[in-house]
């Protein structure tokens, strides 16, 4: 049972980082797509949605080829900074971030599109600088939708399996997240380990949903 907490802590770390990264990336892209008109906007939206519809193994393979030591990006990172991402928890974060990204930017885009532009214009007229309009008017008005996307992203990142296994492997204590630890335990016929792991996973998921409901009572939880 004691060993089950290591994959739990790792899972929360990976999912937490992935959600944080998506808070920045997803909100920025969602805002861009909601407010800026530019050629190829629909194509960009479709491309960015791909991680949600493609099988995680396809993503895992793309990532393995791209950020592997012999890949264009991974080779450059290795040669320039000595950074290796395959078989590291940072690699798992990248996989989880990409898989969960569409959930955040889709939700953010919809949320930003539902904000009345007249409210922003009013703030502008009153002399509020553009960046402050975003932070003090647009984002607070869109926050419910953004938050819903972030919660889904956190849940998706917590359960991520296919791409993570391909990119980060299954190293106990370093890259073996809960979902991968369950898989390994079942493969090895260690049903008692699998039992405690799925119990912990289930309890964690329930706790996350309850906390989410508490953070925004009657609002965010109602969107699921």
């Amino acid at each position: 049972m004691g060993t089950a907490w290591v994959p739990l802590a790792l899972t929360l770390k990976v999912a937490g980082w992935a959600t944080l990264l998506n808070l920045v990336l997803g909100v920025a892209v969602g805002f861009l797509l909601a407010r800026k008109q530019f050629p190829g906007r629909d194509v960009l939206d479709a491309l960015l949605t791909l991680p949600m519809v493609m099988p995680p193994t396809v993503l895992g393979y793309y990532l393995l080829v791209l950020i592997g030591r012999r890949g264009p990006l991974g080779g450059w990172l290795d040669a320039t900074f000595g950074i290796q991402l395959i078989f590291t928890w940072q690699g798992a974060v990248i996989a989880a971030t990409i898989v969960a990204f569409p959930l955040v930017f889709k939700a953010s885009r919809a949320a930003f599109e539902s904000v009345d532009p007249q409210l922003e214009q009013a703030a502008c007229v009153l002399g509020v600088p553009e960046w402050a309009v975003f932070l003090r008017v647009t984002l607070p008005l869109a926050w419910r939708g953004v938050m819903a996307g972030l919660l889904l992203a956190f849940a998706r990142a917590t359960g991520e399996f296919g791409a993570t296994l391909m990119v980060a492997g299954s190293i106990p204590g370093r890259t073996q997240t809960l979902s991968i630890a369950v898989y390994e335990a079942v493969q090895a016929g260690q049903d008692h380990v699998a039992n405690s792991l799925v119990l912990i996973t289930s309890v964690t998921c329930i706790a996350v949903l309850l906390i989410a409901g508490r953070l925004a009572p009657g609002r965010v939880a109602g969107q699921f």
Binding site: G68, R69, G169, Q187, G189
Partner: protein
């Protein structure tokens, strides 16, 4: 112009309802290291038995065993070691009387092709040049079990364990080395021979017990007659010739 729903509904339903295995299907759950040899053997067997369709399911021997134990409808189980088959036998999952050893293999250490440092002995793997070593997960992958047993015997397991990248099966360990993501890996001689342009064999590791593959019909298999035929087919000269061509040794 929109396509009428009825036009696509019928073929769609036909596809969606057609997964049911037919009575003439023979499902073979085989160790991952047998992938190439069995893929070549399946059409040969089908040519001799035109009424049977061979379905191949590859994975780590331990993982396949768990699938069968949980009721997967396999007819034949082929494991890369005796330990997995012993477990299957003690759980009453296979027909013990019809169990056969059909090929043997060797354990080798491989490095990515074109690598600069070549290990000569197991001790060399302790060096800083080999910070990542791919090994099949010992809990479910036979090649990992062989590897761990050898390393434990020479007292090196504790030193190498922190460098271990656990693979789901031997083909994944091979792939990690071929992509250069790890500096060395423990695989079977046959796997190393299947990618001569991407990996090179550093040395052969003597194992305490020989690497011998076992096959047996699954007790609960739906197609017992074909399963028995497939097991004896593996020991025929024509099948053994295919194994030999893929680098396997005599049982």
């Amino acid at each position: 112009m929109p396509v009428p729903l009825s036009r696509i509904a019928v073929p769609l339903a036909a596809v969606m309802l057609s997964w049911q295995a037919s009575a003439a299907d023979l499902t073979v759950s085989a160790a991952a290291s047998l992938t190439r040899a069995f893929t070549e053997l399946a059409p040969l067997f089908e040519a001799q038995h035109p009424d049977t369709k061979v379905l191949l399911n590859f994975g780590a021997s331990g993982a396949l065993l768990q699938q069968i134990a949980k009721g997967a409808p396999a007819d034949v189980y082929a494991s890369a070691d005796q330990a997995s088959m012993n477990q299957a036998q003690s759980q009453g999952l296979v027909r013990a009387a019809e169990r056969r050893n059909f090929v043997s293999n060797s354990l080798v250490v491989i490095v990515p092709a074109g690598g600069t440092t070549m290990p000569k002995t197991l001790q060399d793997l302790l060096g800083p040049a080999f910070s990542r070593v791919a090994i099949g997960q010992p809990a479910s992958v036979p090649v990992g079990r062989y590897t761990k047993a050898v390393l434990e015997k020479c007292g090196l397991w504790a030193a190498i364990e922190p460098k271990v990248i656990g693979a789901q099966n031997v083909r994944q360990a091979l792939d990690y080395v071929a992509r250069g993501e790890v500096h060395a890996g423990f695989v079977y001689g046959t796997d190393a021979a299947s990618m001569p342009d991407k990996v090179q064999v550093a040395f052969t590791v003597p194992t305490e017990e020989p690497v011998r593959y076992a096959v047996a019909p699954v007790e609960a298999g739906p197609n017992a007659a074909a399963a028995r035929r497939f097991v004896s087919f593996l020991l025929t000269p024509s099948a053994q010739a295919v194994f030999a061509r893929h680098g396997f040794g005599k049982p």
